[in-house]
Amino acid sequence: MQNLITITIDGKEVQVRDGELLLNVIRKAGVDVPSLCYYEHIDPPLGTCRVCTVEVNGRHVASCTTLARNGMNVVVHDDPTLHDTRKAMVEMLFAEGNHFCPACEKSGDCDLQGMGYQLGVNVSRFPHLFVDRIIDYNPKRVVIEHNRCIRCRRCVDEVLTTDGKRVFSFANRGNDTEVAIDYEQEATLTEEQAVHAMHICPTGAILVRGKSLARPFGDRKYDIGELANGETVPVVFPDVHALKNGEKKVIATVSLAGCFGCHMSMLDLDMGILDLVELVEFNKSPLTDIKHFTKKVDLGIIEGGCCNSENVEVLREFRKKCRILVAIGECAIWGGLPAMRNTLPLRECLEEAYLHSFTSEEGAAIIPQSEDIPKILDKVYACNEVVDIDFFIPGCPPSANHIWKVVKNLLFDQEYSVLFPEFKYD
């Protein structure tokens, strides 16, 4: 029997065993603390992601690498900046990798995504880095999607062959650090071992050939289960509202480099849209086919990011004319699927599309250009890289409910909360 000690967690004294892992101690005390790289039986814990950061005696520590000692004063939630710190770690991971949730096999079952939901990440405060990384098809059993790897190290420490040999290791350093694979050892993995590797990977970086992760929407880990259980996502709402009262509020919408899917989602309000037109007036919008602003607008809704010069001009026009701007959908928030080209040089993309494509005629094809068509930008830019955006609604597309709640909040100051099933990146 180990000695009992007393520590304070968010002002409450608790008795715990000396030397027990702080992360577990906090959780046993009924206090919720998020964790990402932590994996119960890897000892000592990895301590790589820093998402479980708490404050101990005034200093930030990763609770998964700290042992409980007598008299510790632990702050988890009492200081709101700690929540923001943990959120920043997750946002960094999103900004660093190329995480295209709508196009990822692991979406819905991805721990990184789940962590984003749990912490209320609707946009990364950090601009996405878009570094070109490879997808490694060389291994026999698995495919390694380096774009999605968050270097948590779980696979390095946990995946062993039947002979006890390691399959993964860390290579390079700095921002080039990546998981390297021993192809020979990888080939000896049993199917069970390979599937295990796929499952312990917190993102979709390890995929097993011939095995599907797919589960129907609504049945996936982060669609249902503990997180979805009537709890709400801790989104930080903007402190901007359309102030004037009485008059009909004016809305404008646009789809930039998007697919109009977000606009379709708005139409999913169904009969609700009839209520909406009673309350608001639409100005410039594909819904009204009004091409130019005719008045000042209370709320501008932007779908899609900026992939060409016209997108930028339109977005700037929206910023000038609209009191509040909301970016909706993954593309508007950080580029989304069109940004898949961001890791490649533009020239390569253009040549592939116009000169070397299957249907282009040898020698006759050109890259289109005319003063009447917009110029393509070197990469797809998130809307907030071009103008200030007041609020972000994630999703591909966001649910009609979510959009509607935000609109009501911004225009009519109505309180709202977002339920987990309504908050998605895909």
Binding site: T65, M89, M92, G174, P345, V387
Partner: protein, 496 residues
């Protein structure tokens, strides 16, 4: 210099020439900042390069001369010692420290170190006596003493000079440590960039063995056996962090361990290990030789003794300065003949950015500590360019293990690039500070915790510089978006 090398070797930076004879790469600081421009060729140093010298050197290499036959013997450039108060760099008499062991119990050695008030000279300034005592108290059948000669902080080269001029002193310091804590095995972890010093150190070790100062039955009051070997690093900055160093010694990837145990409890091969910096061991040896009282009389109350400072940059006399703790910054700048300093980076990129308003600050624990690196820049240098260089360094040298250091430094790096292009706004400065604070607070080891220091300091201390470089209109159109640059690639692609 880059052009000269590219022209002469035919290799472009980051690759090899067609024949594969030459490979030409950029590296972080190689500890020769006092005789720059410098390079390592097959790990042999060439210093004070000029295009003409590059031509000669490369021509000789092409004729098949080995690099070792044409490289330079780096100068020591010891520029200043404080007269009779010189403590570290005075004449060295081999064995002078060691012979005291015949009259001293291990605990008495530790007491002297404590009395003298010695702190870790690598830059962490942890009280050395307490470290030695803790290690002594750790119970184990096997203990190690490791000398951290992985001097990687850009702008530092004091350990290079110590190892080059008096390796024996460092070895004696290690022996004192070993005697104190009860260790019988020692390792000098020498950075790969100092491979050219290895032979000299090993020769000194051999001399010591011959004299009976290393090996079995070293003359001492208590039975004492101790030997030392040299192990080379592989060129990673993070391995200067002591737990990463221990991992590297064990042949593992150089990454810091989680802070569950101190190395003095569980270090190399999970045995209690005493890790100290080169200068710390050298000073420890001097304490036994000259006495703790002598050191106490020097320096300031909280930081007794002297310190080796490596000065480089825009001054007439770059090199090594042994100063008494407490010296005014302005006096040191005058000593090294920095004519028109604008900005000084104290303790390297992970240290403190200092403006000339702080001339009267004193280098000591009470005010401004300096781990060794002291880089002077005049007005001809662009501050953002310097900060971006520092940022590149951290971006590359992070071990990549923890999120804030690996991703965060990359993100800061991009932000600095934006400022360099003149596209920054006031908000970018605020974000640099906020994000810098996030990296500092949450990184796993000292590397990440210190990495944003220079950026955050500079923003505070050089407002007149940053004011001119950011948009202060508060426009909600983000001025950081540069349309002309964004369409340039397209325009070029359709031109053909």
């Amino acid at each position: 210099m880059k052009q000269a090398f590219e022209k002469e070797t035919g290799a472009t930076l980051g690759g090899t020439d067609a024949s594969g004879m030459f490979g030409f790469y950029e590296t972080s600081c190689i500890g020769l900042s006092d005789q720059e421009p410098a390079a390592l060729i097959d790990f042999c140093p060439v210093t004070e390069l000029t295009p003409q010298k590059v031509k000669t050197v490369v021509a000789k290499l092409k004729t098949g001369s080995p690099a070792i036959s044409i490289c330079d013997e780096p100068k020591n450039n010891i520029r200043y010692t404080p007269g009779e108060n010189t403590f570290i760099l005075k004449d060295y008499e081999p064995g002078a420290a060691l012979r005291n062991l015949k009259e001293l119990e291990p605990v008495e050695v530790i007491n002297s170190i404590k009395e003298a008030g010695l702190m870790g000279m690598g830059g962490a300034f942890f009280p050395t006596g307490i470290k030695w005592e803790t290690c002594r108290k750790s119970v184990s059948n096997r203990k190690f003493v490791v000398c951290n000669a992985d001097e990687g902080e850009p702008g530092t080269f004091k350990d290079r000079v110590l190892l080059n001029t008096m390796p024996g002193l460092v070895i004696e310091g290690m022996a004192l440590g070993a005697y104190s804590v009860g260790a019988s095995e020692g390792i000098i972890y020498l950075r790969a960039e100092y491979r050219w010093l290895k032979e000299k150190i090993e020769q000194t070790l051999e001399d010591f063995r011959e004299k009976g100062w290393l090996g079995d039955h070293i003359p001492a009051k208590q039975p004492f056996s101790f030997d030392i070997r040299v192990q080379l690093g592989a060129g990673a900055y993070v391995c200067g962090e002591e737990t990463a160093l221990l991992n590297s010694l064990e042949g593992k990837r150089g990454e810091p361990r989680t802070r569950r145990y101190f190395p003095v409890e569980r270090g190399y091969l999970a045995k209690p290990t005493l890790v100290n910096n080169v200068e710390t061991f050298a000073t420890a040896a001097r304490i036994l030789e000259s006495g703790a009282e002598k050191m106490r009389k020097l320096g300031t109350k909280d930081s007794p003794g002297t310190k080796l400072i490596s000065i480089s940059g825009d001054c007439a006399k770059p090199g090594i300065y042994e100063i008494e703790w407490g010296m005014r910054l302005g006096d040191l700048l005058a000593l090294c003949e920095a004519n028109d300093p604008y900005y000084v980076q104290v303790s390297g990129p992970s240290g403190v950015a200092v403006s000339m308003k702080e001339r009267n600050r004193r280098l000591c624990k009470e005010d401004l500590l300096c781990g060794g690196s002291f880089m002077v820049f005049d007005k001809t240098r662009d501050l953002l360019q310097i900060l971006h260089n520092f940022s590149n360094f951290f971006k590359q040298e992070s071990c990549g293990i923890c999120t804030p250091c690996r991703a965060g430094n990359f993100i800061l790096n991009r932000k600095l690039e934006k400022l360099q292009l003149g596209l920054g706004s006031l908000r970018d400065l605020v974000e640099l500070e906020d994000w810098g604070a996030t990296i500092k607070q949450n990184s796993r080891c000292g590397l990440g915790q210190m990495s944003p220091n220079s950026i955050v300091d500079a923003i505070h201390k050089f407002p007149e510089y940053f004011d001119q470089r950011v948009d202060k209109s508060g426009s909600r159109l983000n001025m950081g978006f540069d349309m002309a640059a964004a369409v340039r690639e397209y325009e070029e692609a359709v031109k053909e």
